[in-house]
Symmetry: C2
Subunit: 488 residues, 2 copies
Amino acid sequence: MAVIAGIERQIPTYELLSEEGLATIETAADQILKEVGVEFRDDPEAIRLWREAGADVKGELVRFEPGLLRRILKSAPSSFVQHARNPARSVTVGGNHVVFAPAYGSPFVRDIEGGRRYGTLKDFENFVKLAYSIPWLHHSGGTVCEPVDIPVNKRHLDMVAAHLRYSDKPFMGSVTAEERAEDSIEMARIVFGREFVEKNCVILGNINANSPLVFDATMTNALRAYARANQAAVVVPFILGGAMGPVTTAGAIAQSLAETMAGCALTQLVRPGCPVIFGNFLSSMALRSGSPTFGTPEPALGSLVVGQLARRLNLPLRCSGAFSSSKIADGQAMTESTVSMLSAVQCGAHFILHAAGWLEGGLTMGYEKFILDADYCASLHTYMAGLSLDPNQLALDAFREVGPGKHFFGCAHTLANYETAFWDSDTADNNSFEQWRDEGGRDAMQRANARFRRLLQEYQAPPLDPAVDEALTAFVTKRKTDKPDMWH
Amino acid sequence: MAVIAGIERQIPTYELLSEEGLATIETAADQILKEVGVEFRDDPEAIRLWREAGADVKGELVRFEPGLLRRILKSAPSSFVQHARNPARSVTVGGNHVVFAPAYGSPFVRDIEGGRRYGTLKDFENFVKLAYSIPWLHHSGGTVCEPVDIPVNKRHLDMVAAHLRYSDKPFMGSVTAEERAEDSIEMARIVFGREFVEKNCVILGNINANSPLVFDATMTNALRAYARANQAAVVVPFILGGAMGPVTTAGAIAQSLAETMAGCALTQLVRPGCPVIFGNFLSSMALRSGSPTFGTPEPALGSLVVGQLARRLNLPLRCSGAFSSSKIADGQAMTESTVSMLSAVQCGAHFILHAAGWLEGGLTMGYEKFILDADYCASLHTYMAGLSLDPNQLALDAFREVGPGKHFFGCAHTLANYETAFWDSDTADNNSFEQWRDEGGRDAMQRANARFRRLLQEYQAPPLDPAVDEALTAFVTKRKTDKPDMWH
């Protein structure tokens, strides 16, 4: 299997707004931060840090003079390496680098045969194995689905163990409680060594704002655990337009900027210089039903602008990829996902979460969807490589050889180049209608089903030092027996 | 039904190459034109025009000094209006305007119930009616499918009559023979008046190069017929990489530029100042099968560059939209089509042909695909409107009203804006899983099927002056009885 540790982007970003437009949004965010403020609930330590940093603190409400957060954020690195246990798979987050990671957080999974059902640890492990098997995904992700057959206070142990055992790609840890974040980091220390983890990023934690303009203690406690350990929090607002934010996109972007700056800055108060990722999550709403919608034009535009804003902050950017509200991997799913994913790529995101598998507004992780999305990730490798203009690519000799009205099939230039000339899909059917029909007339979802089953069959685990494996098992066992199961 | 006569783009184009890169491609095109040349076959009048213009003519091979074609092209307008018989539907081709037109040229059609079958005049009329019924398509197109139940030398009469009767949107005429082009223009004269047509563009003709580097007489005769009548030829290479062009994208783009400049310039020799559209059609190839592939990254990048090149020529640009090699409107079809269509929009194309319906590399016009593509066209209206940053959009008062941790559902800003806030899909299902399942669990293709059937049921023809209608009938009848049927 080819090792592809991220992509180096060789295409420009797509610049939607002018400098003036960006400044307008930044001013709006500054006004929100100064006039309305952000609440940090039930976290006296966060409040203490803000007071010490010079913010205007009243109870749990923190307000910020324009410029304060930007000054604090100057200590955050614009780029960092997230190390994988296989060094060849370590990824750079920032600069020209782009990292694709699976979808995150679905309680349900789906495939053609089993339909939609609650996710289990088996499903979780399957998705870790699939992400490991597909070179176009550079990251193992985090909660690739919720293993609801495991107690809620213990499943993080099995999830992190699965990422470490069934993959050697970089991964994300738990954030649902401070001790679960600390367990995740501790398991990373078992694999990478305590000293290495102290100096290097080996795990990410995805920290959601409780939008609008609130961070609750669960999240800030986990955020502080990652920052303390010099690991990277990914700070992400969760704005469904019309619910957790205004129905207008410009306002939602300003809110997103305000919330993310505040969350990212908190990591720098905990440990100046620790890595942090600026996150983005916008959606729209169906007017008839009030349901959130995904892959629509408004968040696609929003991503382009958030990308511009993140560059002005000089922070690595997380965007969301293959979003859809469809229940299955059909035409709706793939239009929406392509729109959303391409926008994430064009906006200059460095870490693209939800790049594969997402269905039903994030409620379901789809096996077939995972494969079709991963195939689009593959094509984006070629897209991001851009256009080479060297003499061989310009092919003037081929034109001289072939001349008007002849074909290029057998010419020297074609023979020398055809094997590497074009991206080739793993799932598209480009055959004739007759061949397609005679082979069963299967749609893309059915072909993806066959492919994920084959990948799981052919899966072979990457080697893991048996002593490390044992130490992981011992840690998990101890933590599991230390306390009673919780199911809610 | 809302009248939307094209879109005014309010987003920037996506600039892939630097000025230097563009100049490299232009130089390569100039070298192809000077060293290899373009053949104009069996068309002494074209050869005469080229000789008169100062090109280097040897038999049917014409070679061009750098700069010659650019000088000739200076007389072509950068923007023009294509008039529709309903003036409210006239479209501007050029500038900030974007026009979406249906797919063109498929011998087959497809729907769920009937499967894949040869197209008939009934199908043709159905697609004209559908394009008329959908406000997101601004143009009736041309050969929306081949009506193979009508003799090949007479079907253009029925096709043009259908465009004129069943729609009042702008349309395209026949190009498959000079007399068919002239018949098409003559029918337009019946509707618009001879004098109006002499001064205004009311019909387009899609002229393909016989790539590589050949124009055959069928095409140049039709091209000259449109130019003579002051109507717009759309000059389009047809480059399947590895067959009619090199396997490398930069070379294919240089070839495309060379062919299109030559074809467009010919229109200006026939009638300086007549409208002409610079066309673009690139594809890639599946290495395992040698089949052409669509919606892949290479032509997406190619479109972005061709857009930049067309702007430097100051000519209106045609790009291709919803390309796919899939046989049905599944996930493959919609990923490929979305990639291709979005690239056409981002590259700055003014006239986007094949914006709806295309399947199977252009062999099949799909009813369900037409609906799903048209829905994506709808979303692109919102995308191209870009992001407004006025105070209402920035929503600062809403943040002041709502504050941290509250929701925006009922706030004054939401109530004032929610009805127009978000784009709403005609085909996406954003409902809950349970609701979707209880309503039959239909995929996007099935929903599109229901929608096209309903649109056809509800279709009402736009009014047409009975005298004009009679004159059209008389013209078609006379032309049909003038000569024997040809079936090949």
